[in-house]
Each structure stands twice: as structure tokens, then as C-alpha cells.
Amino acid sequence: MFGRLLSPIRGTTGFARWILVAGLVLTGVFLVFAIFAPWIAPYDFNQYQAHGARFPKMAPPSGNHWLGTNDQFFDILSRIIWGARTEVKVVLISVAFSVVIGAPLGLVSGFVGGWWDRVMVFLMDAIYAFPSLLLAIVFSFLLQGPLGGGTLAAALSLTVIYIPQYFRVVRNTTVSAREATYVEAARAIGARNGTIMTRYVFGNVIGSVPVIGTLNAADAISTLAALGFLGLGIQPTVASEWGYDLSRALDDAAAGIWWTALFPGLAIVLLVTGLTLVGEGLNETINPALRKRKLIRAVLPAGGPLTEDEQEVTA
């Protein structure tokens, strides 16, 4: 199954490969930050003193604080590195949840079809049509009560946004895979619907998920930053979050203090770019196949569209 998920990368060529590699490098840097934050970051994300001495407030980049400090006396480099960890955690949780919920829903919906499918498609389209930031705001507002202003609440409010995308892609590929001869063959050997879905359809429709995963990841970073910017995301005392830092730093720029805003902003841009490149790189390779799969939905193997008089004849 894992090999199947990675197969698009192996199949990449030319321009798409360069995009993919550039994206992977950028993303990789932040992944290293995230994983090794405790060892890489000079200080903790909410540390404002060391060896009994307070950090200076809003100090420019220097030997002690490579990227300077902000108005809360925090070391900006440390905030960036710890922030990477927050971002990665949120993205992983939200993408994992939306795949785990969206893909099976799409599989079942596309497979059983009919009334249930129509309701689900309508519901998912409605969510999809809703401005995603607005949706995230509503949900983070709702979830902050029961879950607190932590990573999980932020991740779950993003999950809601992304479920429809997995649902749609998996559903559409399922609708065409359902017509495949090997599905009919599975029925012919006496397989139940559940078996057909899990053993015959799922493995062949899941290939499109990594692309959406990386594209969603990029989107999740910016949405999370936007939430933080609005003060609705992760609370500053819980974890370091770039969007929040950026919002605090906005006023400083007018006073000539550029480092407090520049570095968190740059971190957001670079990670979003990296993930987008990965997604687009994968997309370049997979999309022709995706598009083809989506188009296969034909009801009638032979014969053209109806003309009016044909309808009259049989009416």
C-alpha cells in the first residue's frame, strides 16, 4: 500500500521532477526543524531569559539572537523552528483526519450510488463552496470550548475544510472503478459489496490521494496562519505559531523594526511554496490519469445521445 502511495513520485519526469525536487527540499528543511526542534532551536519557544538574564526586547539580529527578539522577549529563530513543529503537527493531524473520513465516505458513496450518493455529494459540495477560512473560523470558535485553543482544535477545524476534497476525488474515481470488469469479476466469484469495496476498489482509487494531500497541506499552513493572525488559532502560550507572531509584529514594521514580521512571514511563504511545489509536481504526473478516470463515467457502452424524436417514440 505504501509503495502504491509513493508510485507517483517514481513516475515523475522532466519539469515536473524539478518542481517536485525543489518542493521536497524546501519542505524537507522545515520537516527537519519540526522533528529536531528541541536540538536545533537555541531556546524554548516561550523562553524569555537564559542564565538568569532577560532577553532584550525587540533586539535586532545579532550573535546571541540570530534573527533578533520580539516584543515578548522571545528569540525569533527559536519561534520559527518550534513553529515549524506546530505547523507540521497541525497539517499531519488535519490531513490524516480528512483522509480517514473523506476517502471512505467517497468510496462508499461512489460505490453504492443512488439516493445516498446524491445527498452526500450535495452536502460535500455545499461545504466545498463555503469560503474555507470562514468555515475554519466557525469551527475553531466552536471547538475552542471543548478542546481548548490547542493544536488539536486547530487541526480539527481545518479537517472539516478538506474532507470534501478527498470525498470528491475518491468518489469520482470509485464511480468509474465500479464499472471495471474486475469488479464484475469479484461479484462473479461471490464477493460481498464490502469485500469488493475494500479489496477491489479501494486500492485502485487511493492513488490520487497524495496529490491532494500535499496541496491541502500547503493550504492548511496558510489557513492556520490566518487563524493565528486573527487570534483564533493556537494560543501563544500553548505553542509557537507563525501567524500569531506575524499579527503581533505588524505595528513594529512602521517603527523600523523589520525582523519581527519578516521572519515569521518568510517561514509561512517558504513552507507554503515548498508544499505547493510538491503538490503541483505530483499533479503534473498524475493529473492526466486523474482526468481520464473522471471522464470514464459512461452509462451506455454503445449508442449516442438521445434525440428528441427518439424520446417521443418510446414515451
Binding site: 470488469t181 474486475y182 464484475e184 466469484i189 461471490g190 451506455l300 449508442g303 438521445l306 427518439e310 418510446t314
Partner: protein
């Protein structure tokens, strides 16, 4: 064979054995119909109109005898695959019934089976698909794929499963089995895939195997080998075959009996030697003239007049073969659509100026698409000239069977009326050693209607209506 009490017999009170079926039949089809409702656009669905019915299988009576190889032959679109799928309960039976004579449990009605019972049927009736490249799950190894039926039905697992998969693979010539078990379908050649598909079909030890054009997608070089394998399997495993094909050459070599299908019906059925030595139905004759066909993928007989197989959603009136039949007579079902075809074919032969002129006189032809025993051409003023056009067409080819169907040409106030005699939809009737659905072989004939059927050069055959 003793019949069991009604509880185990999911058949109605009228379930007495159909004529022709006996203790040696394994599957009985009685008036089987598989009609697909096709709804068109959203708008017409809202208005509640515009659904049309494709009669993929339209009234088939067949009795499959235990141990025989029954060939089902016909052009693409004649409903062969649908018939095969219906035998496994994969296509919805919309009319008639299929009865499976289970050796242990007595007769069961396939057409009303659901759930577990349907799945159980599939341990006895199995299918080999036309396209081996599509019939195997691309993300499943051969071992898993071939063994899955045993697993699904809870028959074997673990080492026993593996042993039986290996045995099945070697039985179909994929030896040594170890070399194939870990492979994915993409790693196999077409012939090997089809062998794997056959292995999956026989692993449940079925009684009936429906083979839907099992070699048509394979290289010439492996076709004979696969067919030979199937014959070996039949002998060793006591199988009964329904062999679906559009290729009469393989049917001749492979089958005990042959059923010729056209537009969802069986038009001729009988022992293979008799069908080949002495074809009776004009369609069978045309098919036989079409072999040997240089390009095996192109099975459409080229010498059939007015080429295309008609739309199964709007079959011709009367005998559905009549628009293409070279020996059709007056009661074969001539109708307005034939008139349109006649004119349009004529226009392909004339120069553009003549076409423009004649088209203006004849006017719009679309109303002829509504099947009817009468067709009107032109409007009042030009009726005589339209009659002249038809007369010229007739002079060009007076032997065209179409003219046998025309009962009356009348110039009236609103145009020229072309009236056809009433048609007959001939059922399958015994003729000689076979059964034929053709008006040239009415009930009670010896089946020696050759003098009539060969009469394409002579005049109108005698009326064999009643």
C-alpha cells in the same frame, strides 16, 4: 429426478419443466428478458418522459444440457454478454426466468435469487471474461486473486489455500506456480492473464462455465492453446460450457450446439454440424459467408446489405433482421423506417443536383422514424413526382426485398402514401434438426425450405404467412 417440496423450490406453481428440458439440463431459460431502462437528460427525467428501453436480451428460450458446449454466436451488440451475465445473476432479469438445476438441492430460480443464495450459485456457475487485461484487479497478486473465491466462500485458508491455488495455476498451465503467485497482473502476458482468470473460475469446482469471448482479445498464437486448455478442463472437470463468440470458426471447432443471436433473440439453434452444413436462417447464412474473415477483430459480415446492426433500443418491426435480409418477403415486418433508408441509400448514389431536386419534392423524412405500417412522402402537389422517384429507384434494383413489402402506393391530397403489408415476428420453430426464427420456415415444415431461401435471384417467394 425427483422434485423437492415447494419450500426448497423457489419456483412458482407454473414451474413445470418447460418443453425441451429434461433431467439432463443444467440451466433452463424461459422467455428470458433483460431490458435496460436508460433515462436521458435531467429535463426529460423531470418531465417523466424520455426513458428508453434497450432490449439487450429479448425473450430467449434455451436449455443447456449437462456436459455440452453451447456456442452463442452473434455480432457485437446482439446481447451475448448480457445473456452470459444473466446466467450468473449479474444482469437483472426483467422478464422470464432462469432455472438452475442444482444436483444437490434441486431446481433453483436464478432470476429471483438474492444475497447468500446468489453467492452460492456462483460456486456452481462461473464466468471467464472477454478482456483478461481488465478482469484481474491490478493491485492484487495472482495468488490472492486466484485464491480469493475460496477465501470468500470460507472453503480454504492458509497453507491449504496456497496449495489449492498452486494446483489451480498448474492445472491451467501456469507452472511452476511459485513463479506466478507473487506476480501482479501487469507482469503477465495476455494469455497468462486469461489462464489466471480461468484458474480463478475453476478453483471453486463449478459445473457451468460461461466463457465470454475468452480468446478474442488474445494474440492469434495463443488462441488455440487457450481453447485447447478449456477443452481439457471440460473433460477433466466435467464442465458444461456456454461459449460466447462472434467467431464462427472457433465455434465450429469448439461447440456441440450453436445458438445464433441477433438483437437479443436466438434466431437459429441446433447441432453444430447441422448449422454449418445446412444453415437455414438468412442471418446464419450471411455469417457463414463472412468466414474466414481476414481480420479477426472485424466480425461484421461485409456482404450483409444495408450494413449496420440496428439500435437495440428501437428494434425493427416484425423480424428484426428484415432490413438487412437479402431474402426477406412481404410479411417480414416492413415499415416506415425502411422507406427512409431506401431513399437515403438512393441519394448516396445520385449526383448532388438530383439529390437537391428530389429532396425538395420528398420533403422532411424525420416523421418516418416513428415505426408504422405506412409512410407519407412529400405534400399533395408533388405526390405524383414522388411516385416517379420511387418508381425509378425500383427500376434500378427491382429485386430489392423492400418492394416485396410494399402493399400499396397511393397519391393522396397530402402526399404519397406508401403502405406496407402486416408483418410477422417469427418465433423459433423446429425445422429439420434445428430451430429457426424466420417466416420462410413456418411451423410444420420439414426444414427444407432451401428452394425458397435460395431464391434471391428469382421472384418473390410464395407467401408463407400463416
Amino acid at each position: 429426478m425427483p422434485t423437492k417440496p415447494d419450500t426448497t423450490l423457489p419456483l412458482g406453481p407454473d414451474s413445470g419443466r418447460a418443453p425441451g428440458s429434461g433431467p439432463d439440463t443444467v440451466l433452463d431459460l424461459d422467455g428470458l428478458e433483460v431490458h435496460y431502462e436508460l433515462s436521458s437528460g435531467v429535463l426529460s427525467r423531470l418531465l417523466g418522459v424520455g426513458t428508453r428501453t434497450v432490449k439487450a436480451v429479448d425473450g430467449i428460450d434455451l436449455h443447456l444440457r449437462r456436459g455440452e458446449v453451447l456456442g452463442v454466436v452473434g455480432e457485437s451488440g446482439s446481447g451475448k454478454t448480457t445473456l452470459g451475465r444473466a446466467l450468473l445473476g449479474l444482469a437483472p432479469t426483467t422478464g422470464g426466468r432462469i432455472t438452475y438445476h442444482d444436483l444437490e438441492r434441486g431446481p433453483r430460480r436464478v432470476s429471483s435469487m438474492r444475497g447468500a443464495e446468489l453467492r452460492h450459485l456462483r460456486t456452481d456457475v462461473q464466468m471467464v471474461f472477454q478482456d483478461p487485461h481488465a478482469a484481474l484487479n491490478p493491485s492484487m497478486t495472482i495468488e490472492t486473486a486466484v485464491g480469493h473465491p475460496l477465501k470468500i466462500h470460507g472453503i480454504a485458508r492458509g497453507a491449504e489455500l496456497r496449495r489449492r491455488v498452486a494446483a489451480a495455476l498448474e492445472r491451467v498451465g501456469l507452472a511452476p506456480a511459485e513463479q506466478f503467485m507473487e506476480k501482479f497482473p501487469a507482469d503477465l502476458s495476455g494469455g497468462q492473464k486469461q489462464r489466471a482468470v480461468i484458474a480463478r473460475a475453476i478453483i471453486l469446482d463449478p459445473r457451468v462455465l460461461v466463457a465470454d469471448e475468452p480468446v478474442s482479445m488474445l494474440d492469434m498464437s495463443v488462441r488455440a492453446k487457450i481453447l485447447q486448455l478449456m477443452l481439457d478442463l471440460k473433460r477433466d472437470l466435467d464442465l458444461t460450457y456456454v461459449y460466447i463468440t462472434h467467431d464462427l470458426a472457433t465455434a465450429k471447432f469448439f461447440c456441440d450446439r450453436v445458438a445464433i443471436m441477433y438483437l437479443g433473440r436466438v434466431v437459429e439453434i441446433g447441432p453444430t454440424e447441422e448449422i454449418f452444413a445446412n444453415p437455414r436462417h438468412p442471418y446464419t447464412k450471411a455469417l457463414l459467408q463472412a468466414i474466414p474473415e481476414p481480420d479477426p477483430e472485424r466480425s461484421v459480415p461485409r456482404d450483409l446489405p444495408r450494413g449496420e446492426i440496428p439500435d437495440a433500443a428501437r428494434p425493427p418491426m416484425g423480424c428484426s433482421f428484415h432490413p438487412r435480409c437479402p431474402v426477406a418477403v412481404e410479411n417480414c415486418g416492413w415499415e416506415s423506417r425502411d422507406l427512409r433508408v431506401l431513399l437515403e441509400q438512393h441519394w448516396t448514389r445520385v449526383d448532388p443536383a438530383t439529390y437537391e431536386e428530389e429532396k425538395a419534392l420528398v420533403g422532411d423524412l424525420d416523421h418516418l422514424d416513428e415505426p408504422a405500417l405506412e409512410g407519407r412522402l412529400g405534400n399533395g402537389a408533388g405526390a405524383e413526382q414522388v411516385g416517379g422517384i420511387l418508381e425509378r429507384i425500383r427500376q434500378e434494383n427491382p429485386e430489392d426485398p423492400f418492394w416485396r413489402g410494399v402493399a400499396d402506393l397511393a397519391a393522396e391530397d397530402d402526399g404519397l402514401h406508401v403502405r406496407f403489408g402486416p408483418g410477422e415476428d417469427p418465433p423459433l420453430r423446429p425445422a429439420g434438426g434445428v430451430e429457426v426464427a424466420c417466416v420462410l420456415y413456418p411451423a410444420g415444415t420439414s426444414g427444407e425450405a432451401e428452394s425458397v431461401a435460395e431464391g434471391s435471384g428469382g421472384g418473390v417467394p410464395p407467401n408463407s404467412g400463416q
